[in-house]
Symmetry: C2
Subunit: 433 residues, 2 copies
């Protein structure tokens, strides 16, 4: 598994942080040239394992190892091969590679299943290049219209994106460019699944700080992504008193400070990742600022409350900046993505839990069950969308310091192997039900 | 004058704000193709007025109408033809065009002067494309080394800069590209002046709100330009609690809010015009933010005090963000430009004051002298650097709402004409001394 995983990371390896050949992060933005290379490798690997391959209109790749029965859909292991611009080697990649590993193990063991067992690579899960996360599992679940996804434009400023120089691409042109615009409709009706299991690093500190080995993911927190625009007035930095300014950037700065206060008070998160400032000159007070806002919380209603409070607070901040000249700033919100809180499927959760207990059973501790815990996911995953249509659940393994979306993101080979064993067993358990 | 001024604005006309042909802003960044066109026009116009033309190593263009005596340097009228990315039609342009107008009037009147009278167009006064303002008068005054200026790189993100796609250019390559890298050394020793006068819009609200017509500029406030870099840690927006973050953007936001507080308390200004955020992904907490900081104040010591206080406050803000994980943010400062406060030359100030009183003498008010006032400049001008080597002063005329570095920057044809009359008389007065 570790060998395959790092082999697949040759395409798009990113920022180096140590001396070992594998001590680099990843920069494999969705539908980039590097993403094409790893996709080609994935398909070839699955063909060598005698899988049937389907590529749909969103470039999702489904590889199925047939089972005894042809009349039931396969049970899938899925995740994504795309990464953040300064991402690591485990987020998503571990999930897909654990699927490859599972099929290899099943072949070695000569294991026959009732239904087939599949591995799926979902397109643009990160939402880093095209700013809607999990968009292609969303189209598959018929929660996001195909046309909306195809027309979605890439983020223009994403770090070192090779295409950043030219006009921003849409998902459709990017799919065409790397030859991954399949002809099969992207839908759970056309490419059905019996269930969807996903192995992922936790991306948070709970497992690692408690010394636990497996998280049985029962739920995913809610989140909403917005694009905001603050419009003020360009003016001279040297001659314009503060009271005469409608400084869109100063308004933004206050908004960001306020966003953390409001979110923290409600046990939620609020984060800004992208900022664009115009016109962008040392001695011109910026008249326009656009930025992304990512609000998360354990309950959908809490996220809505944070949004509501921030809408009113941001209006107040904007109204004050420029009031002195009767030209206050104004702020516009656009909702890009809305992912309500999700609860996973009891049966899938049970399969994962039993498998996890089995895998850690011979650990050298008194109470091996304490190495396994139920957990809520802070991040979104393709399993959020598959769960809307088919039984779904997830497995978390610890990652160093709980850090991800960072080149130094790290999951030990042992933890990777534990996760892969759990997902293989969970799939087999589910298939037997 | 108005005709010539708007004629010259055909090259690089910017954002439209009204229906009249001249109701647009300007976007003529230094050494752009548009800047080349207006330079070519300027040289041809001055040749038609029988001027001798000199282009130096910084692309400064000196045009001299000879006087009776060949043994004394000319008295110059100077300013700049470059603009902000979202600039207007008067900042700098009025100053150069008033020089053209003055020479035309002198020819019409058949006026002979003792020394010659020159008009100079200084390169990249704005500091918008190459982020050191007044850099070419700075080299001429031997206050900035030629090599530093030639190697200065353009700001990569300046709005709609046609070259932004490719690697950033240096001033030297940009000068070569538009064929304005002259062979004459850029120095007050090689191209001497008897004095330098500059007409400019005020760019502030004092004249216009007091209903006054001419500002006799006696001084220029101090300013310093910095580039700052905040380094934190990239991490996941959905899984990373606030206490586990070293969010470089959140640190920046607090710094910007603090900068205004500190500057305001000392009667100074602090402004941020450029911000770059990396890696630039909705769901990654930014690990790096670079930004420009422009600090100004009526006294050099006050600017230094603001800087000192902000250095310590920014360190404290950075130290707090990320303290929870033992990886606090850190902040680095680079000084790009330092312009101490300046006092202009008594004799030049007198020439301007007497001329201003003469020009407004037949205004229909009881006390015409009240239409003229001494004033300090909030903005920097090429006169700051010429004042280090030759007698210098400036004339301000009102501009609408005190707004500049904005497409709607406006100065009435009457006010332009008043300013042009004052500068012509001031030059003639100085020549006679
Ligand atoms: N797991 C992960 O990083 N997914 C990206 C979507 C999100 O931002 O939560
Ligand atoms: N007058 C003017 O806008 N000059 C640019 C230098 C400055 O920022 O003050």
């Amino acid at each position: 598994l570790a060998k395959d995983l790092h082999h697949s990371c040759q395409w798009g390896s990113g920022i180096r942080w140590g001396n070992d050949p594998t001590d680099t992060g990843m920069q494999r933005l969705a539908l980039s040239a590097e993403d094409k290379s790893v996709r080609d490798w994935f398909i070839q690997t699955m063909k060598d394992l005698k899988c049937e391959i389907t590529v749909d209109e969103m470039g999702n790749i489904f590889a199925v190892r047939p089972g005894r029965r042809k009349d039931v859909p396969a049970t899938f292991i899925g995740s994504h091969l795309d990464t953040q611009p300064t991402g690591g080697r485990y987020d998503g990649i571990l999930g897909v590679l654990s699927g490859v590993e599972a099929l290899k193990r099943m072949d070695e063991m000569g294991l026959e299943t009732e239904g087939g067992v599949g591995v799926v690579n979902w397109t643009n899960e990160e939402g880093a290049r095209f700013p809607v996360s999990m968009i292609s599992s969303g189209v598959w679940a018929e929660c996001i219209p195909l046309s909306k996804a195809h027309n979605l434009q890439e983020v223009p400023t994403v770090a070192s994106l090779p295409t950043a120089a030219s006009a921003p691409e849409t998902m459709k042109t990017a799919l065409q460019k790397i030859d991954y615009l399949g002809s099969v409709p992207c839908s759970y009706k056309t490419t059905p699944m019996a269930a969807h299991f996903e192995l992922h690093i936790e991306q948070g500190p709970h497992l690692v700080s408690a010394g636990q080995r497996v998280g049985v993911v029962t739920a995913v927190q809610a989140y909403r992504w917005f694009r905001l625009k603050v419009v003020g007035r360009d003016t001279h930095t040297g001659t314009t008193a503060f009271e005469h300014r409608a400084d869109a950037l100063f308004a933004f700065a206050q908004m960001m400070v306020r966003a953390r206060e409001v979110a923290a008070a409600k046990g939620c998160l609020a984060s800004v990742g992208i900022v664009e400032v115009a016109p962008g000159s040392v001695n011109t007070v910026p008249g326009q600022v656009s930025f992304s806002l990512d609000i998360r919380g354990p309950e959908t209603a809490l996220v809505a409350e944070v949004e509501k409070e921030l809408r009113s607070d941001f209006d107040a901040i904007a109204a004050k900046e420029g009031a002195g000249i009767g030209k206050p700033c104004r702020v516009e919100w656009t909702l890009d993505f809305d992912s309500p809180a999700v609860k996973f499927h009891e049966e899938c959760i049970d399969c994962v839990q039993q498998s996890a207990h089995a895998v850690v059973a011979d650990a050298p501790v008194a109470d091996t069950k304490s190495l396994v815990r139920p957990i809520m996911s802070g991040a979104g995953h393709d399993s959020v969308f598959t769960s809307k249509r088919v039984p779904t659940s997830m497995i978390f393994v610890p990652c160093k310091d709980g850090v991800s979306h960072h080149p130094e993101e790290f999951c030990s080979a042992d933890d990777c192997a534990t996760g892969a064993s759990v997902i293989l067993q969970a799939v087999v358990r589910y298939d037997r039900k």
